[in-house]
Subunit: 335 residues, 2 copies
């Protein structure tokens, strides 16, 4: 077994694993809590009111235009906290690695995690590494779980949405889904479509002064915008109407969807938020979002209608189409 | 694709995934936080001083004498919190499942998780499910991350160990490692050797009145007792001596190790703690441990000697043998 690839010893609890932890993880994520190398991290939180979330990442390919599994692992989990009105403060990081995986590639992923965590001002405080045999995993899977501090003014839940709420999306839809598909299947759309993977907390922060007018937030990842709207419609028992001609979508993404016969409403973003806000403050919140680079394409795309929990799309031609929850899997392993 | 197996749709974010979440997860883990079905759980913690940990579980086989991957996923993570002096209060749960995995088996695993969590008085508050293709994972992998409340009197760390500390183990070594090996390789040792997988927090609780005399705790999982002692020796920069004739080990486990040529000092337990305690209170702490069913085989097995960070075993014959960190992997996928 080459020294340049992952062996079972790297997950053994013995000397080789210790070396990996010290030379790769502790070195890159440097912080005093992780350096303790205890089985659990001791944290002194600034408040008792927290958000807690978990996500496993199985994206394929590991590197794609706009990001990689490492960046996605930090942003995806930080974003689940952000849409709960929380700033991520601590992440756990757990690897499941296939024997024979390249240590060089692992290093690149770890560096990407470290860089993204630093940018997002969140610390990797505890971790785990498991090694499984060849063909028992596909390269590498990553789990990150996160603790976030909920802003005191925030009280968002997918159950809090009310009739007449305005619906805002902070930017273009479907970029991540199409970027992954294009990269994985070598479809050759050029220039390569970039994933929008980004930490969206700055957008939440930008709206904090209107916190009490924000009723729900979601990031439209797996299942896309249509799935998020359906979940909210069900949880809050409201009807939702959005307008096709208001949906922000890149021309390149639209073209790819048309050619592939895919509906962008069901494809993932990884750097966007859907907000349900008080209609009387929707313009002010939109203005706040548009001031930030991540939100410059933000738009009000529809509103909540007080009827049964159904999501409607009003098409460009003026007809009404129901957007159901997706039935099958459109794109596996996009996150 | 049969309705009785996992399909890509179960990880899609669409209707089939929603059904899985509601009919299996929410139903079994019933608690008000999980039922919110937000991307992150909002928690009101009783204090700001917490422990946070993560572990991914890849054990093979999924079911073994004494436990299963579900029970292990709850106990293992709760135990990492327990040895930091913390009572687990909230767990996250993330599945990576191979397409075509049996829903019946998933149901059994989920029921085991629910039962173990209930016994351990910890709630599953947030989760995630990813589905990957056939041969892209080996059945099912589980990540649990956990938040625990550190007892105010506890201040344990693998860096806190001092010369003359007594070393206690709360019961027999190597049970889990041999149980998994026996089950996986159909070695036929009979009666089947049972894993000791259990939540060890009750043992920590039993010692709370001596909290200030407990300097470090670890659960000897991967790499076994020898690895834990080496980690502590390095972190606290102390020498450690243990006595072979004091090590609690089941006869069946000892026999299996002899036949297989395996050293039980390097094999995993999943329901034991190694404690480093003030020598002047070691008997009182031992007595507390022995009163609990999980600690009835507890013993003082050695002490800390103030020299370079090396771990010695004094054999039955009186000779001294160095116990290094393990070099290779002895048993992959035991947790």
């Amino acid at each position: 077994m080459s020294r340049d690839t992952i062996t079972f010893s790297h997950g053994s609890g013995g000397r080789i694993m210790q070396e990996l932890i010290r030379s790769l993880f502790v070195k890159n994520f440097k912080n005093k809590i992780l350096e303790q190398l205890d089985d659990a991290a001791a944290l002194q939180l600034p408040q008792k009111n927290i958000a807690f979330t978990t996500d496993s990442y199985t994206v394929k390919p590991l590197f794609f235009p706009g990001g990689d599994i490492g960046k996605l692992s930090v942003c995806g989990t930080a974003n689940d906290l952000a849409v709960k009105g929380a700033k991520a403060v601590a992440l756990s990081l757990s690897f499941i690695i296939e024997e024979s995986f390249s240590i060089e590639i692992l290093k690149k992923i770890v560096e990407s995690i470290a860089k993204t965590a630093k940018l997002s001002q969140v610390s990797i405080v505890t971790g785990d590494t498991k090694v499984v045999g060849r063909t028992e995993a596909d390269g590498i899977f990553i789990n990150t779980s996160g603790i976030g501090i909920i802003d005191k003014k925030m009280n968002v839940s997918c159950r809090n949405v009310r009739p007449h709420d305005a619906i805002i999306i902070t930017g273009t839809i479907a970029d991540h889904g199409i970027a992954i598909l294009n990269a994985r299947e070598s479809l050759g759309f050029k220039p390569a479509i970039k994933s929008d993977v980004a930490s969206v907390y700055p957008l939440v922060k930008a709206c904090l002064k209107y916190a009490s007018y924000i009723h729900a937030m979601r990031d439209p990842t797996r299942g896309g915008l249509a799935s998020v709207l359906n979940e909210i419609a069900q949880a809050s028992n409201v009807g939702i109407k959005i307008y096709e001609d208001r949906l922000p979508i890149r021309k390149s993404v639209k073209n790819a969807c048309d050619i592939l016969g895919l509906d962008p409403l069901y494809l993932a973003s990884e750097g966007k938020i859907v907000l349900f806000v008080d209609v009387n403050k929707s313009k002010q919140i939109l203005a706040q979002l548009k001031r930030h680079p991540l939100g410059r394409n933000a738009r009000i795309i529809g509103q909540v209608i007080s009827k049964e929990p159904i999501v409607y799309l009003e098409t460009v031609l003026g007809s009404k189409r129901i957007l159901p929850l997706s039935e099958g899997e459109i794109l596996p392993r996009i996150c």
